[in-house]
Symmetry: C4
Subunit: 206 residues, 4 copies
């Protein structure tokens, strides 16, 4: 199957999943005159919306960064990509639980843990795509330097570690999980997959 | 109409249908402190989500496998494709019934039967597209060997038989239907439409 | 703006609108054991789903038929297209009313009238796109014969007349509106926009 | 990342957000025979739907107008675009509040203010994309004349001013906000981003 098709389908899933997040922003019915207070009281839903929209958006950016380094896609890689998308589409559900429960003291920890777990599974999915590609060099774009790619692994894996740390963090401060996830998304905007193409001269960077 | 357009529209429908499945994963309102138990109790919804997401995802992969073997698309084939998409978009509804009722002993059989019936109709839709294309050779890509395609029919039809068998299976064990449908999706990842291009030498396979 | 962009946006709207129709197929909560009866009782929702999915699908086919005859798109035509899409996206709402009320004798006529009115507005939208293009020949593809296009007008307008007739028909038999709309969609699969390209010899048809 | 990808993702988000607006058009349950009256009483939801669909549609047109003037997209611009899309996807929520509350005297002002605020944030997002591009000339298409672009700024900013004025206007007449937003969308159809390409002769306009 052509790479373009897999990307188009993935793009569609990312775009729809991001847009569906707005359905989690809903107000409880209020008495007449209560709209303003209800809008203010819904702040955890806006916070969860912002964190998840940024997360899905930046994951989409990195998904493309990954696929740009591939020249071919086989059936197994398509299946791994499908599992990754399945975890991403789950994020609106986790976001809904976070937005609804972060103000409920006895449930906020559970909701934050679910959210961090979901993000962790997505990070594993990205790693699986990348590991599979690195171990099947015929799928890689010819200008990717496998050795450089392997050396840059630690920086790429930072998301996995942060999301893992968010699971216990959720037990201490659920709102911190929201902030860390939004911040990690912003971090990933600028700390992208390092340049791993063959370099004409050592240390040269595009 | 160009083939690319039909594929783009179909891709959009597949991507949206797969993403909408997450709306079937919802929790009943719980008392404060009940979130963790509610998350665990919702396991049938996760199982139905996974089975249906994999099913739609793999059907999308096979839809492309089919359309890659076509060089032209006429109005009748577009209409058959539309009927196929109509059955695929129905799957979120069947999935919702499955997720909601698999824990209700008196309704689980009905829900599993509906789900298997929906999958069967989709399998018939794929067969209809394929039969129409094989009987209208001018639509086929020039490198498709019609005789080889006809001989490989039995392997292609395995989904139809399995989904048909799932209808009575749903009366015995509804959860088995979910497992079989998820397993069939995984099976189809690797058992794809056989190679049916003209071969330079007998037995040679790409 | 490039024609490809307008088509891509329109395709997205058509695909999402068609897929969202499944949300109108929902069951009322039933007592345990009542699922099978509830599934049967929901037949008007399936009928409305089928009629609307076919209608949107075939409208998408004809939308492309129209745009294939254009070579350029100006701002006014984009705006007319936006109004057309706005009417198409309204169809899931009309479908929901039809599916919910066709079994309610005192409301079925109203719901059928709303549905036919929505379809009529869409037909007017298609006519507006076409009339605008015919009166702005620089937008037309060079191989379109304007005189032939004008002569074939009556056949193109059949949808408008049928949908108009459906408004009073809805007062007599609401279910007939569903059947007529589904039948009209099937009719339009095969009775497409006539060939209006310049012909090398009189009467020759592709 | 290629510009085409960013546009495709943005197109998907615009198309889904516009289509989801129809979910805000819903009727309260009525007694049998009450459908016609309920349809008439829902007019604020239709008005909000029309205003928001036109707004998103025209914003999509202008988004393309902007991106056509870019030749490259860097990570920061992608992030600004993501923030812009996040504000656009919020519009269905603001629209829902407007449609539900415009007939509730004590809440209509709040809902209109929220709607105008949302539109204002979107206008700021567009300005941010444009300012970033103008201050990073290597991202601009080579045929864009920066000086001309800077001179035309006042016309481009009219939306920001109008949406800003809508916030106090919402306190006086909430329905006027709906009318102004719809009118502004229509205005922007024809008053597009001015021609800012290098001109062979002074004053010549395409």
């Amino acid at each position: 199957m052509s790479k373009g098709r897999v990307e188009a389908f993935s793009d569609g899933v990312f775009a729809v999943a991001a847009t569906l997040l707005i359905f989690n922003v809903q107000l409880d019915k209020t008495a007449p005159g209560g709209l303003f207070a209800a809008l203010l009281a819904a702040w955890p839903k806006y916070a969860a919306y912002v964190a998840s929209f940024l997360t899905i958006g930046v994951m989409w950016m990195n998904h493309h960064g990954l696929f740009e380094r591939l020249s071919r896609i086989d059936r197994a890689l398509q299946f791994i990509n499908l599992l990754l998308l399945m975890a991403i589409v789950f994020l609106p559900f986790s976001t809904a639980q976070l937005g609804s429960n972060i103000g409920v003291p006895s449930d906020a920890n559970t909701a934050a843990g679910l959210y961090a777990l979901n993000a962790l599974v997505i990070a594993f999915g990205f790693s699986a795509v990348w590991i599979y590609a690195l171990t099947h060099p015929r799928l890689l774009s010819p200008d990717v330097d496998r050795q450089a790619a392997l050396r840059t692994w630690p920086r790429f894996a930072v998301g996995t570690v942060v999301y893992l740390a968010c699971i216990p963090l959720g037990q201490l401060s659920p709102i911190a999980v929201v902030i860390v996830c939004a911040a990690l998304a912003v971090y990933y905007v600028f700390e992208r997959l390092p340049d791993i193409t063959h370099q004409p001269a050592a240390g040269a960077r595009r």
